[in-house]
Assembly symmetry: C2
Homo-oligomer: 249 residues x 2
C-alpha cells in the first residue's frame, strides 16, 4: 500500500466540477475510473478541495491510497492513457500514509483571467471573463489591496456554505496586465471560502467600472455584508494554479 499525491491539470469546460455527483460528469469520477483495472477495488480520490463547473486547474492536488504495483513515476503515463484529453496527471509522488490532500493543505493560489474589449474573444471565450466596459486599473489594484491580510471574508462567500470559521489570510495578490486587453490576477491565501475568488473579482471589477464604491467594498469586508460586495465573476476565468503542503515539493 502506498499513499500517492497527484498533481492534476484540467480544462473544466465540459465538467460539472471536481466532486462526484449523481447527475453530471466530474473530474473526480474520471480519475477514479482511470484507476479501475490498475487497482483491484475502487479507490478513493481525495482532492485538495472542489472546483466548480467550468473552473480550470493547472495545479490541483489529490491523494490516493493504492494497492497497485505500478511504479510511482509511471503512474502519470498509466493514468493519462486512460483519461480523456482534457484531464492530465502531471506528477505522482509517494507521501506518508497519513497525508491528506485536503486537511494538510497549507495554502492555495488561484489565477483569474479578465479580458476587457468591446467584443468578446471567441478563441479564449471558455478561459477568461469578458468585461466590455473600460476598467480603471488604479482603482482595480487599490480595491484588491484592501483585501490583503487576515480578515473575516464572510461577505465574500456564497450563501448556503457552512464552515467553522470564515477568517482567512490573503498572503499575496499580484496583478499582471498582460497587454492592454488582458489582466491576470493571482491570489494566494491559506484557504478560500466557497466562491471567494469569484466574489472578490466581481467586486473589484464593479469598483473599477464604477458600479460600486470603495466604501461599499470596505463595508462588505468590515461588516461581512455579502450584499455590499459585488457580483460573482463567472467560473471560466478561474484557474487553480497551486496547492501548497509542508512537503519538500
Amino acid at each position: 500500500m502506498r499513499n500517492i499525491l497527484l498533481t492534476i491539470a484540467y480544462d473544466g469546460t465540459n465538467y460539472c466540477g471536481w466532486q462526484i455527483q449523481p447527475n453530471g460528469v466530474t473530474i473526480e469520477e474520471k480519475l477514479q475510473k482511470a484507476f479501475l483495472g490498475m487497482d483491484g477495488s475502487r479507490v478513493k480520490v481525495i482532492g485538495s478541495g472542489r472546483t466548480d463547473a467550468r473552473v480550470h486547474a493547472r495545479g490541483q492536488r489529490a491523494n490516493v491510497v493504492l494497492n497497485s504495483t505500478v511504479p510511482t513515476d509511471r503512474l502519470p503515463y498509466a493514468l493519462n492513457a486512460k483519461l480523456p484529453s482534457d484531464i492530465v496527471v502531471k506528477n505522482a509522488k509517494e507521501v506518508p500514509m497519513d497525508f491528506h490532500a485536503r486537511y494538510d493543505a497549507l495554502g492555495k493560489t488561484y489565477r483569474y483571467r479578465l479580458h476587457t474589449a468591446e467584443f468578446k474573444d471567441p478563441i479564449e471565450r471558455n478561459y477568461h471573463y469578458h468585461v466590455s466596459e473600460d476598467l480603471d486599473i488604479a482603482k482595480f489594484k487599490a480595491a484588491l489591496e484592501t483585501l490583503k491580510g487576515t480578515h473575516d471574508f464572510k461577505g465574500f462567500m456564497a450563501s448556503g456554505s457552512s464552515v467553522k470559521t470564515t477568517v482567512r489570510t490573503i498572503d499575496e495578490i499580484e496583478v499582471h496586465t498582460v497587454d492592454s486587453n488582458n489582466i491576470d490576477v493571482y491570489i494566494s491565501a491559506d484557504g478560500f471560502l466557497y466562491n471567494m475568488v469569484r466574489i472578490i473579482i466581481g467586486s473589484v471589477v464593479d469598483v473599477a467600472r464604477g458600479k460600486r464604491t470603495m466604501e461599499q467594498l470596505e463595508e462588505a469586508l468590515k461588516h461581512q455584508k455579502r450584499k455590499q460586495a459585488g457580483h460573482t465573476a463567472p467560473p471560466q476565468g478561474l484557474f487553480l494554479e497551486e496547492v501548497r503542503y509542508g512537503l519538500n515539493d
Copy 2:
C-alpha cells in the same frame, strides 16, 4: 449597395475550415447565414483565403456586397447577435465597390503556437502543438532564418494544390519564447501556399529535435523537394493574425 470589409475572429476547433462545403459546418456558411434576414437575398462572403479545419483566426478578412441599410458601424453587433459564440465580427468598414478581399491582399501574418513539455496541457490542447521532445532553440531559429526572403516554396506546399507560381516572399519571422515551455512563431509573407506555414513549422521542429538536418531543409528549399522538408505540423497551433491591404486601416 455597399462593399463592406469585415475583420473576423474565430475558434476553428469545431469547424471543417473556412470554405463552404457540402459535408460539414464551415465559418463561411455561418457568416452567410448571419447575413440572411438582413439582406433580401443570399450574400456572397469573399474571404481573404481559406483556413483548414481546426485552424483559428484573430484577423481573418472578408468582403460582402450588401443591399442592407444597417449602418456600417452597427454591422458587427447585428452579425454577432446571430453568430455562434466561436465566431466574432470585430470590425466592419466600407471599401470601394471593386475591392476584393482575396485578390487585393498584399500580405498576411500567421502565428504558430508550440508547447514543449513532457505532458500535454489539457487547457490549451486545441490551441497549440504539443511537442514532447526538447527543442534546440538555436537550431530552431537558424532553420527559420534560412527560409526568409524570396524563394520557390514548392517543397513546402501540400501536394495536389495548383497555383500559378510557387514563389513567395517571407518578409519577417519572429520567434517569441513566451516561457520555457511555450514558443510563438509569427511569419509574414506576401502570400502563403497550401499548408506552407504548417510544413515550415513541422520542418524546423524536426531540425530542432534532431530528426532532420539543416542540409535537408536547404535541399527542400533549393530543389523544391517536399520529401526533404519535414512533417506537416497539426492545424490547431495555427492562427491567421492579420491580412494586409493597401487601405488606410
